[in-house]
Amino acid sequence: MSILDFPWGRKRQTVLETSRVFTDHVRLLTQGRLLDAGGLEPFWGALRAALRAELRRRGLWESPPAYLGIYGWESWEAGAGQGALEELLCECYSYIFVLRLRCLQAQLKVKPNIDGLVFLNIRHFLHERQKEHDPVGSQVFEVLRSAVRAAIAEGTLHVLEGDEGIRNDTLLSFSPAARSPVAKREEIAALVTSWNDELLPDLVTLRGQRQEEVVLRLRERLPDLQGRGLTAFSFKDLIDPLKADVRRRWAAVLDQSQGEVAPQRGEEERRSRVRFVQPDPRIEERQLFRRLVECVLNALRRLDTNEKTREYLVTLWQFVRLQAAEGDEPAPPGSRFEALLREIGDEERPSLRWLAEQLRIPRERLPGLYEVLGTLLKRCRAANSGQAAVKALSKSSIQDLGAGSDAH
């Protein structure tokens, strides 16, 4: 027996009877009309409430707005009426009712009420922004969730309450008979963060087909909780300390080379130093960034070198990519390629000692690996912009690189 509660399913039905505010707005737009004064506040109020609810559901309400690319605010509640939430609200409106209006209009042809689809689009909106602006946190969530789902599928872990798709509010237990979570959050946090000694950097750098490897390793760690008598807990009890610890270690790598650490806040500690490298919200810029990331990954796949060197290069590239995507302030236009270059270049490289330790790459290999990545990046940039390649990558240089201490 299985019950499927589709993301748009039951909520749509609830909305059907209680609200048509979004549907009415789309209908008006289709007729070339705008909301009148009396309809404006209920509309914005409904959209704001839905956005806030989804932020809470995703555990983002307590996180800095920078995790979603809203900069200059410490919290969502700051700057009442003109703060971070209002800024996100406008972007959310644009995402749904400007960019995706055609799709909403299309669904109106076969549905009497599309309010549920607006809720679905809010989820898409936040998911996309989170992946974009908080790639480290998103990846940790993805791996832990996959590990928990695997344990549930095997029957070793059970969902007591909450979203069966596994969200922050999901209550988990090693025994289906358990009734409430154990209130030992500090003990859970201490154990969970110790897993990172073994899981990093793969927890955030193993992607694609190889992601399953780190999911399996994390899955094998979960019974440690039961061994400590921690038999019931929420998913949030696991994900928050795991993410915070990854961020702390990640930040430490950079802080070794750049300093300027501001005080940390909240349970999700985060480096507050203002970085030179920031994401750019423009669509074209984002697309170019993605093309560059993909181009380098594909080039690494085809590179004529041994597997150990390729593994080091991929790990280092994933690190560089994450660093270039993360940031606490908006970036000037055209900055993403520069961001990648600076991450690779000498001036903003983290301490090699720390990097070698965190990424588990022999320190003496790092300069050569950086050089290869820099060359590949410039070639990819040239390929994607029509510019001539800055420097060809010679086979001999790769072979020289591959002759390093692979046995390490």
Binding site: M1, R10, T30, V98, C103
Partner: protein, 313 residues
């Protein structure tokens, strides 16, 4: 960063500019449509090709989810029809009659159609060479959930539908279709409306039901007969609370011969609330069943309806 006072107004005006009437006409490669058969899902269909004979169209489901996996074609926001993701792994040859001119919803650029066609061919030939980023998406659990819940279901639904021979305009939402294997919309019992969706979740239905149910047929008080294709692994029921049932805590139950075969969790039930239930066929062998709403406080069923299930011959 302060919000300018007229920012919202500008957004509203921009949205109005984007809201433009869409043309109509016979389906052609490049057209986007919504289909009645998949109206419950947040998908459109992109027409990619037309068979020279037989009147069938090659179409793929498309949606606005931000995930783009190895078999998908992403239509950028600034391209015609975008932003959209074409799910080329779920392409199907569908009868052109499914594509009602009035349900045309947009158009794609020719280069997008060409790319999607190539992608479908590569999927079919097993020669797809996924990019590194697409492989990352393939491994994403949210992407997998989405694919299972939207395009995969959409394909199964669309394949199971046969278009009507003739369609009379203005005669109701569902007119124009006789759903050979999909929906039987029937009013049953004292207050539960059951929309029965019959299909095998593991694969598209290829054996049509021997008996068709005309949509709009209402048989209040008479047991609904659900004919299930031989070999179907699951049955999907959509249980809708009748408008006459007052809002309260309760649960659904399916009962056979006085024995409960399935119960939902306790939930807040309100008029017109809907619960989708997918049950293993093994749990519901051929026979007579009673579907009930039981109050949380205990006591007799609030409403009860009868449902007969049998294997289609």
């Amino acid at each position: 960063m302060p919000i300018e006072e007229d920012a919202r107004e500008r957004l509203l005006l921009t949205a109005r500019e984007r809201a433009r009437a869409l043309g109509s006409g016979p389906p052609e490669p490049g057209d986007l449509f919504v289909l009645r058969a998949t109206a419950d899902l947040p998908v459109e269909w992109a027409v990619l090709d037309r068979r020279a004979e037989g009147g069938e169209l090659l179409a793929v489901p498309a949606d606005v989810s931000p995930f783009a996996g190895s078999a998908d074609v992403e239509v950028p926001a600034m391209a015609p029809g975008g932003p959209l993701c074409l799910r080329c792994r779920f392409g199907a040859w569908l009868d052109a009659g499914l594509f009602e001119p009035g349900l045309r919803s947009g158009a794609l650029a020719p280069e997008t159609v060409a790319e999607a066609r190539r992608q479908v061919q590569q999927v079919e030939a097993g020669t797809l060479e996924p990019s590194s980023l697409a492989e990352e998406t393939d491994a994403d659990s949210e992407y997998r959930d989405w694919i299972r819940e939207a395009p995969e279901r959409a394909r199964a639904l669309a394949l199971a539908v046969r278009p009507a021979v003739a369609r009379e305009p203005g005669s109701g939402r569902w007119e124009g279709y006789r759903l050979a294997a999909m929906f039987a919309v029937l009013a049953i019992g004292l207050g539960i409306w059951v929309t029965a969706l019959r299909r095998d979740l593991a694969a598209p239905i290829v054996v049509p039901l021997s008996r068709e149910v005309d949509l709009g047929e209402k048989t209040r008080g008479v047991p609904v007969l659900l004919e299930v294709p031989p070999g179907a692994s699951h049955i999907e029921l959509v249980l809708v609370v009748d408008a006459a049932v007052p809002a309260q805590e309760g649960r659904f139950e399916i009962n056979a011969g006085g024995r409960s075969v399935w119960r939902s969790d306790l939930m807040r039930l309100a008029p017109r609330d809907e619960l989708r239930v997918i049950l293993r066929r093994a749990l519901l062998p051929d026979g007579e069943y009673h579907i009930r709403i039981l109050p949380a406080a205990g006591g007799p069923a609030l409403v009860e309806s009868s449902l007969g299930i049998r294997t289609a011959k």
